[in-house]
Amino acid sequence: MVVQSTAEAITYPAVGAELDIEGVSHAFDIDGATLPVLDNVNLSIAPGEFVALLGPSGCGKSTLLRLVAGLEKPRAGSLREDEARITGPHPSRVVVFQDPTLFPWRTVWDNVALGLEAQGILKAQRHRVDAVIELVGLSSFRNAYPHQLSGGMAQRVALARALVNDPKILVLDEPLGKLDSLTRIAMQSELVALWQRKGFTTLLVTHDVEEALVLANRVIVLSDRPARIKADIAVGRPYPRHRGDPYLAELRKQILGLLGLEATW
């Protein structure tokens, strides 16, 4: 079932890249048996679009993200960024993982500087690190070590570490999943603000239907493993969105139904 989009007239800034996922299938070999995780996934994401992937736990959402990031190669099909085939990781497609995975031996500043340092352009671009730390509001923690940060602060550092590379596609793998609900709501608004300001294409994996509806232009609902696209739902509401919006509540009910949870409503 595909829910048709209600008139989408939002134009996106040109910074983001187009992402095309064509006929992608993937599988893992576990103890000699082949475990299919993705089954012929086709998805085309416009530059600057914010797309959320929703699906049952373990359905292969994170695998799809790893393919987009170039950390793994698909068994079949192809992924393209602005028409160029994705063959490996590239700083134009940065991932923010569920765990902040900050390097504990580096200060906040050095963690954020990681990408520029790895690409060998840090010396000339130090101001970018300062600017992005300022952007996520952690200027007074630039010399702190990760073990001194709270969960929300650590995730903001992880976000800064991604943003300093000016990614064309920001890949978010349940980045707010482990935060407390208050921090989470605050960071959702920050995320929308950053996305609107920077204009990158965003691909967000989440298991929180409400989060998907508050953040994304489009919500993709995946089936059980092996994941297939079950529904492609456009969320035609301007930002900032209201959690109590009856339109969103209706969509939420539909999506929960698609995920087999209609009984809870």
């Binding site: 990781p89 700083p91 991932v95 993982f97 995975t101 390097f103 031996w105 990681l114 070590y145 590379n165």
Partner: protein, 338 residues
């Protein structure tokens, strides 16, 4: 603005000025006891005649009384001596125990010979070694440090590089791992007889053995450290554009460093053992050789004197290693303090 009255100021200053009975039983009391313990040591040296023939009894007694005076002075002026005063106050209980120990030692050996004499020399005999045999002892110390440092640095460097290589590359691991498993667990001292006739000099043989004793734990722990680095760190670095050299130098090695230091610590311990044995058997210099030499002459005081120096050196080396670690691993929380 807040206001201060004169009585506030005097109340704050009062505890410093007057020594109360409570203070005597507290920090001042312990300092006083320490001073008395050292006074007792000094007097015990001077009061009773020695049962043997030792030339330093008088100076040791006077030295102990001077120490007692310093402790007394330090105790009552600790508040004005800054960090040194605080350090003295903190160690006062130890000074009591140590003063009591040396007093008992003095009485049990030099004065009443409760302990059989040539085997348990009194403190003044050991002082005599430090004053009269100093050049030989210092030569031995330098020889030991030279041998230990050379072997340890070589072993640690080779071990570290080997550990990183087999932790990182499966191909290198395939070839090195079996060799490591076969040779590594063998105690380095087992190589002694072979090493001494295959190497051109006993010095190079000992360096090799110390390097071997250091290298094995450093290799294994560096390897396990590199192998246990979470793959999430590599994923993050790779998506940010890191090349393999960056992954090794800036991800794998820093992440493995806590393990490496455990290996360096273990290597230091086992290399001390090899050093002493090698010096006793083959090398004609160093503290191990000094011990052996002293035993040959039944110079028991020299043996104790050398043991004390050796203990200070080993402990100092470990302190140095831990200081280095604390500096490099400030990012870790809750590291063990040595």
């Amino acid at each position: 603005m807040s206001t201060y009255s004169v009585s506030d100021a005097t109340a704050a200053a009062a505890p410093r000025a007057a020594i109360t009975f409570a203070d005597l039983s507290g920090s001042y009391g312990v300092g006083l006891a320490a001073s008395l313990a050292w006074l007792a040591f000094g007097l015990s040296c001077l009061y009773w005649p020695d049962v043997g023939d030792w030339s330093r009894t008088g100076s040791l007694g006077i030295g102990a009384i001077v120490i007692a005076a310093f402790i007394l002075f330090g105790t009552f002026s600790a508040d004005y001596l800054g960090n040194a005063g605080q350090a003295l106050r903190k160690r006062a209980p130890w000074l009591v125990a140590f003063g009591a120990f040396v007093t008992l030692w003095e009485v049990a050996t030099a004065k009443f010979a409760w302990l059989p004499l040539p085997f348990f020399p009194p403190p003044q005999a050991i002082l005599e070694v430090y004053t009269d045999d100093l050049p030989k002892l210092l030569d031995s110390v330098f020889a030991s440090i030279k041998l230990q440092l050379g072997g340890y640095v070589i072993g640690a460097t080779v071990g570290f590089i080997t550990g990183v290589s087999i932790g990182w590359s499966q191909k290198i691991g395939y070839w090195v791992h079996p060799v490591l498993r076969f040779i590594g667990p063998l105690p380095a001292t087992a190589w002694l007889p072979i090493a001494f006739f295959t190497f051109p000099s006993s010095w190079s043989a000992s360096t090799f053995l110390i390097a071997l004793a250091t290298g094995f734990p450093v290799t294994v722990l560096t390897w396990s450290g590199v192998a246990s680095v979470s793959s999430a760190y590599y994923d993050v670095a790779r998506t940010l554009g890191a090349r393999p050299s960056f992954l090794v130098l800036k991800v794998a090695i820093p992440a493995a460093l806590p393990h490496v230091f455990v290996g360096l610590f273990m290597g230091l311990g086992s290399s001390f053992a090899v050093l002493v044995v090698a010096e006793m058997i083959g090398v004609k210099a160093g503290l191990g050789w000094y011990l052996q030499w002293a035993q040959g002459w039944a110079a028991y005081a020299n043996m104790y004197a050398a043991l004390i120096v050796m203990s200070l050196l080993c402990s100092g080396a470990i302190t140095l290693l831990f200081r280095t670690r604390d500096r490099l691993l400030v990012w870790q929380k809750g590291v063990v303090k040595w």
